[in-house]
Amino acid sequence: MTNSKKTMKPQKLQARKLETLKQKPHPNELQSSADQNVPDSKNVLPNNGLTDDLSSNLAVLKEKMGYQSDVRFSEFPLSNTEKQVALVYIDGLNDLTFINDYVIKPLKLYYSEQKESKEEQLENDCFIGIAKRAFLTGDGVEELTTFEQVIQAVYAGFTIMLLEGASSALKISAKKVKSRPLEEPITEATVKGPRIGFNETLSENTALLRLRVSDPQLTMTHFKVGRTNKDLVVVYMKDIANDELVREVQKRIKNIDIDDVAGSGYIEQLIEDDYLSPFPQVQDTERPDRFISSLMEGRVGILLDGSPFSLMVPATFSMFLQTPEDYYERWIPSSFIRLLRFFAALVSLFLPSIYIAFVSFHQGLIPTQLAISISATRESVPFPSVIEALIMEVAIEILREAGLRLPKTVGQTVGLVGGLVIGQAAVQAGIVSPIMVIVVSLTAISSFAIPQYSAGISLRLLRFGAMLFSALLGLFGVILFFLIIAIHFVKLKSFGVPYATPATPYRLGDWKDFIFRAPIFKMNSRPKMLFTKNTKRQSRRK
């Protein structure tokens, strides 16, 4: 409905254009008028209820939907009776065997048995009543009385059943959805974690959550987004998540006004706080375990139909350097690995720029031996170190991008050819120095150590900024760039939570799950930064 405001104007304009066009004889005139029925139909129908005449009902429906090639109308008598039944459905979306076995057959049986005794009473009985008595799959069945409801239900993928003599229609849920099996997510592999990930079907994902969290406080609220009416579910723990946070998430989702959300990345970009920031402000995951643990921290999750990536808000930067693996491994190795990742993030951001600064500005600050060996290897290189670094960095980014989109086997070849062959040849040809190859490779490897893809990209991007500053102002430039990033970093908020938490503001409790990970039994309180309603992690409620 929210679309209407924005789309109104263009529609009017188009309508005017069509009118002017129509004055000339047009070969497709019939077709275009049929197309025009679609937006009109809603305006004509609202109070228009179904009648008890099946053929006239069908006629109306055929008029409204008959031009659609995938809408099927099938009409047939119930065997022993003169009763006519009609089914309306979209081809391919409905399980016809199910309809036949569990709807048509029981109905026929019901009529053949009851025909003699109570026919008159049945005639007056409402359709849903008959249905409930005839076939017991009552939960997926709903009674519809207007054409508008019927048309909406058909397009939503339900089977509609019309009966001679009944002034209502039955909406039967017999959706036949093809879904992918729940496989291990490729983007977030773990060694010791569960091998299960979300798939593209919303109902299976929510079912998976219910299966894992049998707690009545797990709350799911349903939204429809976009013109395409995609299903979206906001998930949170009612007694943990901050009310204001939940309201804000729901508000932002309601404000989404768009044709189609093709993936959860759309939602992410439409609800984030600062679109100018290079940092990702919403975390996505394919892993139910990760999703659930962030719900338990007091975050709010978003699941979108058609996307295996669930979203979690608010996000803080440290989340992007964590993996579920950190909690499955013992705390000492996990802490070590986290420390390593923070270091890797720093290296991937600043190593090339620091190298440039030292080599082109402050040769005096590096150890003499090293300075000599660097200058020896750089002797034959005709470019300043910035250009050299840029050549290599851009080359490696292109290689990575090339390898990413290709089939796995080809991708490896690209990596091999690009990395080894070209790298080796470039050094031998004297275009780049071997030490630059080392620096660039170290940087690339470090950036692979960042577990979240979107955080990795933003650091890769910022690296070029750092190199630029370093080329202009040396070490001072690197420090300036660090300050700029740090300032942006502390200014940024994700759903009201400072992006830099828990690094700042200091809350000692939250540092248990930051650079180090405390033993799990020590992490007995929820992150304070989320202002959760209940602060203790425990099973017994007071």
Partner: protein, 366 residues
């Protein structure tokens, strides 16, 4: 949204801010300025004593601010001594902050151009750092407090590591004899030290932003305490390494310390680049805060939007920073700032006394 922290800073943030604002030029110059006055290796005692004096003044300032909850000194000065006098005092304070910012940006540029960017014009350095400064200041007090919290641990870790390296040329004999010339030289050193501690006056403004203003005294004490440790380590290490006579001949003795030894076998041989890095970060925190305080003062005194005063003051600061023609004039500017600062402290104490009595008066009335 989760607004509990909005527009308010926590007590640790206040303490960290006080420390970050205090630590600045002093890391590089304090060993010289204090030893020049003291003349004996006892300068470190002066640093501690100076810090204690400063703590007392800091407590007075915190007390004064606590009398007027959620008001900065710019607002309550007019309440205490009336509009005209209050505005005059605000002007003095603003000028003090502006001169400090100009001075510090200039010192930063001087050091950078002497050791890091020999060929780059000094103006480029100043404009670059001022742009970054504005980027932070327009965000207001909260991002500033968070940034200081982010930078301080980094500073502490690097500072300690680097000074541990300095132990290589540290000689305890350089610090002896303790009070060989009696206590008098130590007393003489207190005055230059107190100037290195400037920055604690920020509590006059920070208290207004605190979530728990009752803890302002605690915050200022911890903040000053941490900076005493910083300065003590600096002075002890530098004097211990270069000796009292060696220190007074160097413009930037701390840098000289790190240039005078090589620690081979570890990744780097010389560590002054690390000192530069953390020093630039810490001086940045100092003048950014002063810039913000000046802009805040101007906007609160003139009732205009703060963004106007931020952008309006930029050229003023740039002009102040470019006035000194050489490094000696820079230090002369430093002396002027120092005198204005004593004026500010004096007026603050007068304000406290007046406020104290007027408040008593009010209480007895109502």
């Amino acid at each position: 949204m989760l607004t509990n922290t909005n527009d308010r800073i926590t007590t640790p943030q206040t303490a960290v801010a006080v420390t970050s604002i205090i630590i600045g030029i002093g890391i590089l110059t304090l060993p010289r300025t204090v030893t020049e006055e003291v003349g004996t290796p006892d300068s470190w005692i002066s640093v501690v004593l100076g810090g204690m004096v400063v703590m007392i003044i800091g407590i007075f300032m915190a007390k004064l601010s606590q009398m007027f909850p959620e008001k900065t000194i710019y607002e309550y000065s007019q309440l205490v001594v009336g509009k005209g006098l209050g505005k005059l005092f605000n002007l003095v304070l603003i000028i003090y902050f502006l001169l400090s910012v100009g001075l510090e940006i200039r010192v930063l540029a001087e050091v950078t151009n002497m050791y890091l960017l020999v060929k780059t014009p000094i103006e480029v350095t100043m404009i670059a750092i001022m742009s970054v400064c504005v980027y932070l200041v327009v965000g207001g007090i909260n991002p500033m407090a968070r940034l200081y919290e982010l930078l301080l641990p980094v500073t502490i870790v690097i500072f300690l590591l680097v000074f541990l390296m300095g132990l290589k040329i540290f000689e305890l004999n350089h610090l002896r004899p303790v009070m060989g010339d009696g206590f008098l030289p130590v007393l003489k050193g207190i005055q230059p030290t107190t100037f290195s501690y400037t920055g604690y006056e920020s509590i006059l403004i920070l208290t207004a932003f605190m979530a728990e203003p009752k803890k302002a005294k605690k915050a200022v004490l911890i903040g000053i305490g941490a900076s005493i440790v910083f300065y003590l380590v600096t002075v002890v290490m530098v004097v211990g390494a270069l000796s009292a006579d060696g220190v007074v001949t160097e413009i930037w003795p701390t840098i000289t310390l790190f240039q005078s030894f090589e620690a081979t076998g570890i990744l780097f041989e010389r560590y002054e680049s690390f000192i530069f890095a953390i020093w630039i970060l810490q001086i940045f925190t100092t003048f950014t805060s002063f810039f913000y305080f000046a802009a805040l003062g101007l906007s609160q005194t003139s009732q205009k939007k703060i963004s106007y005063s931020i952008y309006g003051l930029l050229p003023v600061i740039y002009l102040i920073a470019t006035i000194p023609t050489n490094i000696n004039e820079v230090f002369t500017l430093g002396d002027i700032v120092e005198y204005i600062f004593y004026g500010v402290v004096g007026i603050t104490i007068i304000l406290l006394i007046i406020a104290h009595f007027r408040r008593m008066h009010h209480e007895s009335k109502g």
